[in-house]
Every structure is written in structure tokens, then in C-alpha cells.
């Protein structure tokens, strides 16, 4: 397998539900994402794009088929090992920002490093540098509730980058923002992509297509279009 493949899925299927009521969220999906790609996963709700993202993000396990991330086969890993992969190789960005409301912006950015067991001094420096990069150095000590939506999402991006992951998974990152702020966020994602991060963007906003170099459209748990 060539080294420049960041994500590879081999005919993965995901079935939710009990033996009586089953829902096939993904059906035989095979996909290769190159290092440095900016993928837009599109499609209507229920098409399986978030399921695919969760599987790539090590939050869930496939029913069949395998996912290989940076050469690592995920299906043979236990819960703790998956958590470690999430902490080291993947950065998540959510539609609802998902910051921890009781701790400061800085601490939120530090959080992945806390779970990665880094010393306080080094992780504070990393977190501050990242906040600076997104123009938030003056908001470091503020609680998330004291920040605007755009600012919160920038904190979330900083948090996603804290562990210096190779893959960024963004699930409708602009969904809760006005279009101007959304555009700003997308520009940040684009610049991160330029720095070499592989980005998988889940969205159904057609205007965001232009930021991606590959567009994958899904329908009923299968890839229907691949550009």
C-alpha cells in the first residue's frame, strides 16, 4: 500500500439495530483518501455520511469490512486503543462546537493533550499558540459561553489541532453559523489543509464544495458519485 494513503475503507458495512429491526446505514463502501486531500462528503440526511465519518473517526466499529488509517487496521483494536488513535491521529470539529462549558477556552484546547498525558507547561504553550493562530489570544481565559459562535468554532478547530493530528473530521462545521462566519471558518479549514492535514468535511451545503478537491456524494448508504 502506498504511503500517501491516509484513509482506506475496504467494502465496509454498518448495520444498526437488533436482529429483528435492522437498518443498513452503510453498504459495502470502499474509499481511499490520499494524504493532504480535502474531501467533501455530501448527500441528504440518512445517506450514511455521518456514519462513515464516525467509523473513520474510530467512534464506531464496522459490521463488516475494514478501515485502515495511516496503515493501521482499526478493526483489530480495542476500545482503549481506538481512544488513543482518536487522541493522536484525528481532530474532530462539530456542528455544535461541543466545547466543555465549565472550563476556559484555553483549557478546552488543552483537553486532548490532557488525555494524551502531556505536561502542563508544554500543553499550555501549544494551546496558546493555537489560539493565537486563530486570533483568540485575548479570549483564552474566557468560558465558551462568553464567546460568539464563530469564536467557539475557532476554539474547537484549535482543539482539533492540539494533538497535531493528520486527519481532521469536520461534521457540518458551518451549520450553526451565519454565512460570513461560516466562510471564515472554511477559510481556516482550507489553510489547515494547505499545511498538510487531510480533511474530511461532512456537509450538505453545496456552496462549500469549492473548498474541497474531491467530492463524494452518498445516497442510501452507498457512494453514488465520486468526483
Amino acid at each position: 500500500m502506498p504511503d500517501d494513503i491516509a484513509i482506506e475503507t475496504n467494502s465496509i458495512t454498518k448495520i444498526y439495530g437488533t436482529s429483528k429491526v435492522q437498518f443498513r446505514a452503510l453498504n459495502n463502501v470502499s474509499l481511499k483518501v490520499k494524504r493532504g486531500d480535502f474531501i467533501a462528503l455530501m448527500g441528504p440526511s440518512g445517506s450514511g455520511k455521518t456514519t462513515l465519518m464516525n467509523l473513520i473517526g474510530c467512534l464506531d466499529r464496522t459490521t463488516s469490512g475494514e478501515i485502515i488509517l495511516d496503515g493501521q487496521n482499526l478493526s483489530i483494536l480495542n476500545d482503549n486503543q481506538l481512544a488513543e488513535i482518536r487522541g493522536k491521529k484525528i481532530g474532530f470539529i462539530f456542528q455544535t462546537f461541543n466545547l466543555v462549558p465549565t472550563i476556559s477556552a484555553l483549557k478546552n484546547v488543552e483537553l486532548p493533550l490532557v488525555f494524551g498525558d502531556m505536561s502542563r507547561v508544554s500543553r499550555e504553550k501549544i494551546a496558546l499558540d493555537l489560539l493565537k493562530k486563530f486570533g483568540l489570544e485575548n479570549w483564552a481565559r474566557n468560558l465558551p459561553s462568553e464567546l460568539s459562535g464563530g469564536q467557539q468554532q475557532r476554539v474547537a478547530i484549535a482543539r482539533a489541532l492540539a494533538n497535531n493530528p493528520s486527519i481532521i473530521l469536520a461534521d457540518e462545521p458551518t451549520g450553526n453559523l451565519d454565512s460570513a462566519t461560516g466562510l471564515q471558518i472554511m477559510k481556516y479549514l482550507a489553510s489547515i489543509n494547505k499545511e498538510g492535514k487531510t480533511i474530511v468535511l461532512v456537509t450538505h451545503d453545496n456552496s462549500l464544495k469549492k473548498f474541497a478537491n474531491r467530492i463524494i456524494t452518498m445516497k442510501d448508504g452507498e457512494i453514488s458519485e465520486h468526483k
Binding site: 464516525n54 473517526g57 467512534l59 464506531d60 476500545d79 482503549n80 481512544a83 488513543e84 482518536r86 487522541g87 493522536k88 481532530g91 474532530f92 462539530f94 455544535t96 461541543n98 466545547l99 466543555v100 462549558p101 465549565t102 472550563i103 483549557k107 483537553l111 486532548p112 490532557v114 488525555f115 494524551g116 498525558d117 502542563r120 482543539r159 482539533a160 494533538n163
Partner: protein, 435 residues
Amino acid sequence: MIADIFLMSLDALRSHKIRTFLTLIGVIIGIGSVIIVTTAGSSVRIFIEEQWNIFNPTGMVIGIGTAGDPPQISFREMGFTDHDVEELKNLSYVKEVAPIGLLPLKAIKLREGFLKWQSKAGGTMYATTPALLDIMGMEIEEGRMFQDKKNEIVMSKSMTTLFGVDKPLKVGDTLYIQRLDGKLIKTTLVGILKESENSNIMSQVTSLSIAGPVDPYYSTYFGSNVGGIFKHVTAYGILYADATDKEHVDDAKNQILNYLNTSSDAKNYKDKNSDFVVITQQYIISKVDQITSVMSMLITSIALVSLVVGGIGIANIMFATVTERTREIGTMMAIGAKRRNIMSLFLYQSAMIGLLGGVLGVILGASGGAFIIQILNQYLKELGGAFSTGNIALAYSTQWFLIAVIFGVMIGILAGVLPARKAAKMDPVVALRYS
């Protein structure tokens, strides 16, 4: 990392101050009552020990009254004779016996010149034998104990200022004791009793202010006699006795009762319906223990109930918190938190509630204990009599502070286990979708 997760738990508590406090109340009350009980218990125990250790631990009071539980001594009834005292002394487990004759005084007089007298109201004098000193565990501070059949007395330190603080009585002074029947007896003050730092029950019962030998003060007194017109016998209402050692106090008591009920003079002189009563110090201590143990059982059960309720409260609030923070849990898992990190996050939080509850409970209990002791002292004063001058000193049993705090933390952890497990077992995908 542990420290950071711990700090995050603190932040979570800080952001819900009122909720945290309300959750704490149960634990605070529970721990607080434990501390109040232990504080009151240790203070009262020390008080009782102080009261009784001054009095000889093998000592006992013999009287006539009503047997039963508790036994009562009627101080009015007389019957013990000198012969009885001698016979009791010969019992194998009895070391010493001293009679107590109560001699009401009309006045105590001091002669300051040929025709110049000073007179003070007299109170009650105790006619006894020198053996009393040992039985009561008292000491002479100055001078010596009186001797039998001599016109000598000893008095307590506080009595020496009877005629004024500026001219205290001294060993060797001559006094005139006037009995209720008017008879004036010239007397030498030969000794001053050492005042114990804590007034004890026995010194209060006897209010041993003045004591002298039976002869001449008591035996010639009309009120001391029993028997028919032709055969007057000196008799006493109370005897103090001392057992040979701590192990044989009950044996001594049985021997005494056996003698009194079978062959004593007192048997003939006492009222038919009255009983002989022997009250040992050990009996009184066991009574006190009984009362305090009933009290502490009662309060301990209240404490346990409120701790259980407090624990349930913590568990309840932790379940609510876990549910409320579901999406946060999902997020933390997404950014690399392992299940055990999530588990400890919530366990720390509930342990923290327990710790806070423990610490605040100890503070509440410590001040509540001080308050209770104050009330008890007030009550003792109002009770009057034997206890009126005693004061219960506040004595914390500090090891309970630590035990209580640890207990609080344990309750917190126990209450947190299920909610924390629930959090740690969440499916991150489901948790992230939660709204």
C-alpha cells in the same frame, strides 16, 4: 493527568454552586451529627471520669432507703451503729469503713477578745473517723487530720475565709462550735483540706466543709441516738466504705448487704419497709454509660439515615449530571478520552461532594458539639445539688474528624460509582448525537 481531571471535576462543581450545596446538605447533617455525638460523648465521659476519679474508685456509699434501679438513699433514716462499723471493717473484701454523722450547727464562733465574739451561721458538720480521708481520696493541704476523741476539726480551704477574706482561719486557731441544741464546744482547727481542682460529686454530696470526730461532737447530740429510753445508741444514716481492690467491689457490696440484712444493729433500727442500699462508684458509672450509649445509638442511627439519604442524593444528582453532560462525554471521548478517564472525572466529582460534605459536616459538628456542651452546662447549673459546680469541658475526639471526612469521601465515591459507570459505558456516537 489525574490532577487535571480532578480540577475539571472541581470546575463542574463550581459551575453549579447551589445544586452542589443542596446535594451536600444530607452528608453535612449526617457527618455533623456523628461529630456532635462523639464530641458530646467524649466531653461527658471526661467530665464523669474527673468527677469520680477524685473519689476512690473502690469507694461506695452505704445507706438506708429503697433498693431497686436506681436505688435511693434516704438521708433521714438512721440505724448504723459503731458496732456495725466495726463488724463491716472485718469483712474480707472491705478495707475501710467510715461513719458519717450529720451534725447541724447553729453557729461557728470566733473569740476576738474577752467579750468580743464573732459568729457565723454554721451549716452542717460531718462527724466521722479519720478513715474518711482515705475513702474519699482527699488530702490535707496544711496541718493534719483530726484525731478521734479530741476537740479537733478539719475544714475545707473555702471555709477558712468564713470570717472574712482578709483574716483567714489558720491551723491552730481556736473556734467554738455551737450545735443546734445550743451546746458550745471549744475546738482547735488542726487541718485544712486540699481543694480539688474540679469539685467532685462526693465532695458535693457531703459538702465536706467541716469534719470532726464522732466523739465529742456527735455522740452527745440528741439527734444522733436511736433505741429505747433506757438504751441510747449513737447511730448514723450513711457509711462510706472502701473495697480491698477494684476487682472485688461487688463482692464487698454483697458481703456488706449480707451482714446488714442478717446480723446488723441497723436491721433492728431501720424502718421495716426500708432496704439497705449500697451504691458503688462502678454502678453509677455503668448508669452513666447506659444513658450515653442510648443517646449515641439514637443519634448514630439518625446520622446513618441521613448519610444514606445523603448518599442517595449524591447518586441522584450525579445521574442527572451524567445525563446532562452526555454530549460533553461524547466529545471528550472523540478527542481521546479513554473510558477510565470519563469514569474518574465523575468519580472525582462525587468524591469531592463527599469530601466537602465531610469537611463542612465536621465544622458543623464541632460547633454544634460546643453548643450542646454549653446547653448541658447550663442544665447542670439549673439542676443544682451535686453537679451544680461541675463544668463539662469541651473535648473533641479529633480522630473522629478524620474518620468522618474519610467516611464522607467514601459515601461520595460509593454514590458516584453507578453514575460514573453509566458515563464511561456510553457509546460515543450516541452520546454525541444526544441533545
